[in-house]
Each structure stands twice: as structure tokens, then as C-alpha cells.
Amino acid sequence: MRASEPFRTATFRLAVFFALAVSVSTAVVFLFIYWQVATFDVKRLDAILVGEVARAVTQPEDRLKRELELRFTSDLRRLDYAALFDNTGNPQYGNVAAIPKDLPIDGAAHIVEARALRSTETGTEPAVFVAGRRQDGGTVLLGRSLYEVNALRQVVFEALLIGVVPAILLALASGIIFSLRITRRLKTIHETTLRIMHGDLQERLPAHGKMDDLNYVARAVNLMLDEIVRLLQQLKSVGDNIAHDLRSPLAAMRTKLERGLAAGSGQELRAAAEGALGDLDHGLATVTALLRIAEIESRRRRSGFARVDLAQVCTNVFELYEPLAEAKPVAFTLDAPAPLPVPGDFELLVEAIANLVDNAIKFTPEGGAVAIVAKTIGDRPAVRVTDSGPGIPAKERNHIFKRFYRSGNTRHIPGSGLGLSMVAAIGTIGSVGSVGPPILPKYSVKHLVRLTRKNFEDGARPVIFKPTNTVSYVIHDPVTKRGAVIDCIWNVPFSASKIRYPGKRSVNSAAARIEIPAKSD
């Protein structure tokens, strides 16, 4: 750190600015007091002297002389001037030798330079003089030296200087101290940042101590660094995974082509080429899905969140997947009674929910059930994708969002292992594990019993809500945290999907086809 650095920080400049502001305001106050003191004292003197002269001009001469004498004896500080002149201007009595030349004899107060009365002083000093003409032609002159007033002014002025200068120095000193402290912290931050820039990503800015503004920023930067590290690691593992996942179809392709070429006959070569083309398609699909995830992640970071109707999103997905469920067959229901506006990105939400539904239909055995519910659950808009499929073993739940992860017991079903990572890329994983009760948390047990009894009469088995597997995705605005929840619930007993939810106002085309289609199709 250079020696001049504390003087260039914003803190120091702020301190200087405050010092100046404080000084100016103090000076203004002092000046006001100074001005008040000066004028008030002089005005008071003026008024007294004018009154006394007005009385003196009417008094008989001998009495006036006595009063003047009294005045001299009581004036210990030798500040009072008093004199009586005859009609030719010669002094008759008093301590003023002659009427000052520039003093009008009009009974009003004037400030003139007069000889100092005190023996220690030899020069002149300002004084207030009042002269009045007597009826006999003489002149009465009264005055008082402004020496005291001036002395007071002097004191006030000196106090101002003595007071303001230390105040400025104090402000500057505290500015330097604060700026030194800040500079020291900034220096640490600067050095840490440089280390991070040079590749030491584990380094973090110091953010301990109390929560001041600098720590606040440091903490935010640290969180940002955590996220960057996570993204970097993700990127790295994705690269590894792509290479790994493309290797097997490529190897299979190579073997097939080799074998086809070795066989010699055109027929066999053709078959081999077709097989190889299939492997190539598999590889291509994987690459496309990966690119899509990358695209989603970058889009999620920059997309603005608009109002989107979750119910509409679910309806779109439902329409897309209905034939697939019908063909399997799997009972497929949608319950989206009312518009459910949430902040979000329509296309991405469709993709997220479609992926969940895709999974649900894919992994649910024939004759099972898949349900989409879109309504306000608790106080949040929510989508629930429920299925009666095998679910995910507890020990695997934390892995399902990893790209290319395939659950052990469903490995025989075709898939890339990328679907859930795509969903996780669109939403944030809220919670994984058992969260219950699943579909209708606001309904009481009694209500559920009534519902199940109704189903029972319909020939369905009673419903026991015991989902063993759930995943919640939170789709929200990353800053305001407002948004929706997407739940995915697996392994729900089959007849759960046969419940007709109360309060279902609009039944769309889907609801009529709740029954499982005949398997003979």
C-alpha cells in the first residue's frame, strides 16, 4: 500500500467533505452570534444615550453639572464621555475638549473616533456620541466608548477560530483512521480476488465479524463464487459423461459395421448399416438433450419471468401424452380446475412437466395410473405428477438428478438418464424424500374416508395415501423467491388416481377418460 492511499479512498473524501460541511455550518452559527452581540450592544447604548441627552437638554445647568459629576465618579472603567459646551462651543464642563467636527448636534446617536479616556491608552477608539442643543444655546454631549463591545467581538471571533480549526482537524483525523481501516480490509479483499483470479477457486473473501456493508457484499461475492465452482464442476462432469455415454453407441456401431463388411453380402452389409444408424441416432439424441440442458440453464439465467398459467401448461402436456398413456395402457388423468398464474417461462415449464410425465408413463407398469394435478396446495400454486410406478429406492434419491444416472431396477427401459437433470435445470430441486400427504393436504381424514367410500361403491379399492417417494421442484424467480412447486410422487397406490376431486369446476376432455383402456387395444 502506498502512503498516499488512505487519502484517495472514498471514506477519506467523505470525511473531508463532512469536515467542511461541519465547519461551514459552525461558522455560520458563530457569525450570527457575533453579529447579534455586536449590533445588540451598540443599539442598547444608542437608546440609553439618546434618552439621557433628551432629558439633559431640558435640565437646569447646575443640576446637569451635578449629574455629570455623579456620572464620572461612578464610571470606574473610564468609558463614559460627558461634556457641556456654551453657545460658542467652548467647553464648560466635562472630559471632552471640543465638539467633534463631524458630529451633528441633532440628539441622535453617531459613531465617531474619540480620544481614549483610560490612562493606558493614548490613541483614539470608536465611541457612540449623542449631542443635543440646550435652550440657552449650549450643547450637551454624552458618549460611551465601544471598547468593551469591541473586546467582546474580539473574544467571539477568537473563539470561532479556536473552535473551528480543531473540529476540522478532528474530522480529518477520523477520516484518515476510518479510511485506513477500510483500506486494510479492501487490500485483503483485493489480494484474495487476485488469488481467485489466478485459479485458487477455494479461496473466499473474509466476511466474518458484524454485518456491515462491506461484509454484506463479500458474502454475496462468496455465494457467487460457490455457484461458479458448482457450475464449473458440473461442466467438467458433463464433459466426462458425454464422452462416456457416446463411447458405447460408437463402439457398438463400429462392431456392427465391421461385421457387416466382413460378411461380404450386400444384404448383411445393409442390415449392419441400419443397425449402426440406430446407434448413431441414440448418440445424436443424447447430444441433443445435453445441448438442450445447457441451453435451458443459460436461458433460465437470463430469461425474464412472465405470468404463465400452470393449468394451461399441464393441459398442453396432458394432450401430448394422452395417446401414449392410452397405448400402454395406463390410466391418465388431469385435474386443473382453475387458471393458476405463476411467474415463469411457458416453454420451460412445459418441458419440465412433460419430462416428469414422460418418466411417469414410461416407468409405470401397464394397468397403472398417472395423474397430473395443478392447483393451489397450501398457499402455493403447485403441480403434482403422481404415478403408481416402482418409485426410487431411498439410497438412490440423491443421484437421480445427476446427468446420465439410471436407476438400477429400470435399466432395461430405454432412456438417456437426462430427463430429470433437465427438470432440475429448469426448476430448483426443493426437496427430495417423503413429503406427505400428497395430493390434497387440505382435506381432512373424514373427507378422505368419504371419498374412498364413494370409490369403494364404484368398485374401486379404498385409497391409502402413503407415497413412498416424492420429489419437489421449486420453480421460482431466483431473487424474489416467488413461484410454484412441482411435486413428483411415485409409487402411490393405484386407485389414488380414481379419486374425483371435490371442487372440480371445469372438467376438460381428459377427465371423461379416467377408465383404464382395454388392454386388447
Binding site: E274, L277, G278, D281, A285, T288, A289, R292, N316, E319, L320, Y321, P323, L324, E326, A327, E347, V350, E351, A354, N355, D358, I361, K362, P414, G415, S416, G419, M422, S509
Partner: protein, 120 residues
């Protein structure tokens, strides 16, 4: 919003198809205004999604249409489900188009997609 989308779609159609309000491929006829479809004399009862799918196939008759193209252009979805989603939709449409005995109109193109051809 739907209104706007419909209008834009109509404008696009107008520019490419010289204001065609009906499409015809072989025995298939599609009335885009009345939203009705028929094969020869037989009227086809199609759901909106199926209508859109058929319309797309007819506009691209004689060309191979891939599954990705269908997903992106008919459903406007940009992801690749690994299930045979498109095949199922095509299968449903096929069953409605072809009664037993009719020559099949939608042909599967091995490994790539589908093609609607006029037959004959």
C-alpha cells in the same frame, strides 16, 4: 392470445399457400376453415391435435417428416422424449385415416420418420 396466434398462423398460411382454404392429397381433403377432414366420401372425426398433425403431414406430403420436426412444428416442444410419443400419435391418426382394406396413407420411413403420400 389464441386469437392473435390464429391470425398470425392464417397470415403465414396465406403467404405460402396462395390463400388455400382446403388441402388435398390423394383421397384426403382438409377444410381449414370448417376444420373438417374427409377421406374420399368418408368424413373423419379428428381431435384438434390430430387435425394439426394431419395438416402438417399434408403440407409436407411426399417429404419425409422426422419426429423432431413433428414435435417442434406441431406441438412446439423442443425436447426429445425417449418414449415413442410421436409414433403413438401417428398410430392413432393412422387408425382413423385407414379403415381395414384401405391402402395406408402414412408410411413409416425407417429410422427417420414418416411420409404422407397420395398412393397411386
Amino acid at each position: 392470445m389464441d386469437e392473435l396466434a390464429a391470425r398470425v398462423e392464417a397470415l403465414l398460411r396465406r403467404s405460402s399457400d396462395a390463400r388455400a382454404t382446403t388441402l388435398q392429397v390423394g383421397p384426403l381433403k382438409l377444410d381449414l376453415i370448417a376444420r373438417s377432414a374427409s377421406r374420399g366420401e368418408r368424413a373423419l372425426d379428428l381431435l384438434p391435435a390430430e387435425f394439426k398433425l394431419l395438416e402438417y403431414l399434408m403440407r409436407h406430403s411426399g417429404q419425409t417428416v422426422t419426429r423432431t420436426m413433428l414435435l417442434e412444428d406441431v406441438w412446439h416442444y423442443r425436447f426429445m422424449p425417449r418414449t415413442n410419443l410421436v409414433d403413438v400419435h401417428i398410430g392413432k391418426l393412422r387408425r382413423k385415416l385407414d379403415l381395414p382394406g384401405d391402402p395406408p396413407l402414412i408410411r413409416s420411413v425407417r429410422r427417420s420418420g414418416f411420409m404422407l403420400h397420395a398412393g397411386e
